[in-house]
């Protein structure tokens, strides 16, 4: 029986690894569809950004209460991995609490510490669930934000319920375990009562030893299978941010927020135009200016899309969105990810190669009206807790509309014309540019 459990556990573990690996490879290959961009300079600064923003959760503490709750879930997840290691070892080797003999009396403190974390995660998740479902925080409401209806709404709640169940499983498992220890069951290593779960022991008083063992095993399997399922689920979910927050902050832009990326492919053409360079026969005209689809964006833009957890702080700060316009930076990120997921499915169905499907990021996912509404104020960039840059994507899509499709609002065309002929966005003669000084000279 025990051997059978071990075989089952090892087979399950291998399957999970395989499934997660397959999903991760697919995500990686869709990210790599993006254009190359060097984000490896200044490793020291990058490392410290990652330590502050991802490990230290600096931006989450902009809102202290939420920061503390989020930190509880985060630290719980990281440290509980040590306990998961024990569980996995027990599963593979058919042992029970394999760390207990080696750690001796320290073991009960260690598990007690994990129980504090588990309780913290539980509490935070319950509060978050209430915030999403009952308090109706504005930015999570599908009535106010069209991108939040359906799956994103369910996804946000599912994961919280998931975590609550996982934490209840581990705490009740520990309680049943303690009761079995008190009964002197030889399989259950004597450790003493645990910090939080001891209060759950009354739930198990009067249970038959067999029933207790069955419950303990049930909770053990529920917990570990839950974690396995969670590992797969998060690759399909906005919760991928728990992994990607780290590389995403490491590779974040280090230049001032106001700096727009240069288009070197234009520079040589301009140099020829103004007579700084001779026409070069080798100069290659790029097949497209700006971004029409995800493949035209950089890999970092695409990693941003997978890192977005749809918290909506960007949208909440966006002046266009605040004043009722269609633009929502969160939707820009979600649309980019949706497009990537579609491309990924396409690749999977066609042996790893993307077969054109007549769809594009701009037009089929993101509307022209959305990208035209952006004031490039950087509020969305400022707000993102994991340093996502929605503005960069918006501006690249705009370039495509203007430069490739030559589709601009009439008044912008006027402005361009004025700039070309008068070197000013307004229709004034360049010769009048210095007239202001007449008043004081």
């Amino acid at each position: 029986m025990a051997v059978l459990q071990q075989v089952f556990f090892i087979a399950l573990l291998a399957t999970i690894f395989w499934l997660v690996y397959r999903r991760a490879s697919l995500i990686r290959s869709t990210i790599l569809l993006g254009k190359s961009e060097d984000r490896t300079d200044q490793p020291g600064k990058r490392l410290s950004t990652m330590l502050r923003v991802a490990f230290g959760q600096k931006k989450m503490f902009d809102r202290p209460l939420i920061g503390v709750l989020h930190f509880a879930v985060y630290i719980g997840f990281i440290l509980i991995n040590i306990e998961i290691l024990e569980i996995v070892l027990d599963g593979v080797l058919g042992t029970h609490r394999i760390f207990a003999p080696a750690l001796g009396s320290f073991y009960v403190y260690l598990i007690g510490f994990f129980e504090i974390l588990a309780f913290g995660v539980l509490l935070a998740c319950v509060i978050f669930l209430i915030r999403r479902s009952i308090v109706h925080v504005d930015r999570f409401q599908p009535e106010k934000h069209r991108e939040m209806s359906g799956w994103p709404q369910l996804d946000g709640k599912l994961i919280l319920i998931f975590e609550i169940v996982l934490m209840l499983a581990i705490l009740s498992m520990n309680a049943a375990d303690s009761v079995l220890q008190e009964m002197g069951d030889p399989h259950y290593t004597q450790t003493g009562s645990f910090l939080f779960s001891q209060f759950l022991k009354p739930l198990f008083t009067g249970w038959e030893p067999d029933a207790l063992v069955i419950y303990e095993r049930f909770a053990w399997w529920l917990h570990i299978i839950g974690i396995f399922v969670f590992a797969i689920y998060l690759t399909y979910s906005k919760h991928l941010h728990i992994v990607l927050a780290f590389p995403n902050t490491y590779f974040a832009r280090l230049s001032p927020k106001g700096k727009m990326n240069n288009m070197p492919e234009i520079t040589s053409e301009v140099k020829v135009m103004i007579g700084l360079e001779n026409q070069n026969a080798d100069s290659v005209v790029p097949e497209r200016f700006g971004a029409k689809d995800v493949g035209d964006l950089s890999w970092k833009n695409l990693m941003d899309a997978y890192s977005c957890t749809e918290c909506g702080r960007c949208t909440e700060a966006c002046p266009a969105n605040i004043t009722g316009k269609k633009l929502s930076p969160r939707k820009i990120m979600m649309d980019t990810r949706d497009r990537l997921e579609d491309v990924g499915r396409n690749m999977q169905a066609n042996g790893g190669i993307f077969v054109p499907d007549d769809k594009n990021l701009i037009g089929d996912y993101i509307l022209e009206e959305e990208i035209l509404a952006c004031t490039s104020c950087n509020a969305c960039v400022q707000e993102c807790p994991v340093l996502i840059n929605p503005l960069d994507i918006i501006l690249q899509l705009r370039r495509y509309k203007i430069m490739d499709e030559a589709k601009a609002p009439g008044s912008w065309n006027m402005m361009f014309q004025n700039l070309d002929t008068n070197q000013a966005p307004w229709k004034f003669s360049p010769g009048d540019r210095f007239n202001w000084a007449d008043a004081i000279k």
Binding site: G258, L276, G324, T375, S376, A408, M414, W426, F434, I440
Partner: protein, 265 residues
């Protein structure tokens, strides 16, 4: 100082006399053509004169930096303008530039280097702060701002884009005014609605225009003076104020105008 005694030398004039200015004052399109913002240009020139700064302007040799073209998606027009500006700046051997426009400031400072134009670029808020700190300009002989309620509207291209929040506030504090912050300020500041090329087109459909939302926030502070440090913000906030029919009780000034007033210029 007599009205007609202010000097506005051009780079061409300076070059003809074999002189180099300490700093180039980049006026910008709004500073050159917009009737309201021309007054800011004049105020800043008066301050430069008063502080005995050896400066020059490009005059008719200046062109738009290209910021609105680039942000509206027209990279070609941007680079055409940028390259010819860089040619002019380099021809005169310009090292240091000061400008009152955060959009010009951002483009000159952050975007010209990649096209070969490398200069030390300052926004006039930083420059004014320096002049005040050095004692070259001090509030005297003019209007007193003691006890006046002032609120400062952060420009995105000065603040979030370039992390300059304190310099304009230091300038206002030097005037002894009482500074009241809006609900959204500094990194959380709300855009005036004009950046990213929006100045040159109608806004997209929504419930409200952005400048109206922002002027409501500014008025909620109870300030009678709204200080700005950007021509776009000046235009948008002034429109908002007119919309609220408050132009008689509340005034909008650029920080350079306030410094000039304090100095009786």
């Amino acid at each position: 100082m007599e009205e007609n005694s202010y000097k506005v030398p051009t780079m061409a004039e300076m070059a003809a006399e074999n002189e180099t200015p300490e700093v180039l004052f980049w006026v910008g399109c709004a500073g050159s053509f917009d009737d309201r913002y021309k007054k800011v240009t004049v105020a800043f020139v008066k301050i430069l004169n008063k502080a005995k700064v050896k400066f020059a302007v490009l005059g008719t040799e200046e062109s738009c930096t290209g910021d609105p073209a680039r942000r509206a998606g027209n990279e070609f027009t941007f680079q055409m303008l940028a390259m010819s500006n860089i040619q002019v700046l380099d021809m005169y051997g310009v090292k240091k530039i000061v400008t009152a426009c955060p959009h010009c400031f951002n483009t000159l400072k952050n975007e010209y280097p990649e096209l070969g134009g490398n200069y030390e670029v300052l926004h006039h808020s930083e420059y004014l702060q320096q002049l005040i700190d050095e004692g070259r300009v001090r509030p005297e002989n003019g209007e007193t701002f003691k006890g006046k309620k002032v609120t400062f509207h952060d420009s995105c291209y000065l603040g979030r884009a370039n992390d300059i929040y304190e310099a304009p506030r230091h300038v206002l504090e030097a005037l002894d005014a009482d500074l009241f912050e809006m609900k959204r300020s500094k990194v959380k500041g709300l855009c005036c609605g004009a950046g990213g090329g929006q100045m040159f087109k109608e806004p997209e459909k929504g419930n409200k225009d952005i400048n109206i939302e922002r002027i409501e926030e500014a008025l909620a502070t109870g300030a009678d003076t709204i200080a700005v440090a950007c021509p776009f913000c000046m235009i948008m906030m002034t429109d908002g104020l007119k919309n609220k029919e408050k132009e008689d009780s509340v005034r909008i000034y650029d920080i350079a105008e306030l410094v000039a007033k304090a100095n009786g210029l």
